[in-house]
Point group: C2
Chain length 130, copies 2
Amino acid sequence: MSKYITKQRKNLIDFLSAHSDESFSAKQISLELSEDNISISAVYRNLSELEAEGKVRRVSQGNGREIYYQYTDSDCCKGCLHLICNKCKKTYHMNTKDADILIYTLAQNQHFQIDRKSTVLYGICAACHI
Amino acid sequence: MSKYITKQRKNLIDFLSAHSDESFSAKQISLELSEDNISISAVYRNLSELEAEGKVRRVSQGNGREIYYQYTDSDCCKGCLHLICNKCKKTYHMNTKDADILIYTLAQNQHFQIDRKSTVLYGICAACHI
DNA sequence: CTAGTTGCAAAGAGTTTGCATGGCG
DNA sequence: CGCCATGCAAACTCTTTGCAACTAG
């Protein structure tokens, strides 16, 4: 999809990929990149493209009140479930074996087939839980 | 919080509680109740109050793009995890035992404490999976 | 040079809020 | 009758879109 590598797009990808365990709102991203002079519309357009390409995923915080974007490391994010800490907002990968067991169990017991892409488990991470 | 039982609030609660396995956007609700003459602002105000009271919960669909509201049956919704079908949008309750195992496992293996209130698992339900 | 990308501003969609009116108790 | 809730419209926020100017290749 992306034909030209503009400095705005490069800066955006560089920033998101450098913080692939965090997610950001469109506004936060435009603020972070403010010294690179990227417009909010370019942020949205690039995020949409990157999401369509599967390089960025959208997650919700606060039961859908806020939309955040996050770089998706295609290698390890493919088949795993994500955990997001409600406090620090960082993303973690659920242990693959546990995820497989969960998905299998739910399929067996309730015939519900979990979609790994749209499912995120929220809670408190080890670092934030004192 | 609610001091008066107006006909608008009654109609809203009646509608949501009659479809407690489904969730609706504010606009959908106002359309459903259009014959009862409820304004969109009254819908939002009542939903906010009901959410604060714990009688309604907010869920996100489409990775946060859309916000839906759902009646919370306080009895059985207290301690369980919710499943939402990406196709029919209906809500199911995850088997309590399986939920407990999941939560325990994640706490043990990754020291991540799942919050039952904010977590929803998305996928395809038995009825929609052919 | 040429097509894709940007910035700006305007347009939409969703949600919140102020204020006068109306209705519950 | 007094206070709360409603309806309306305006204000706000977030996101999308049209168009002319710019720029990567």
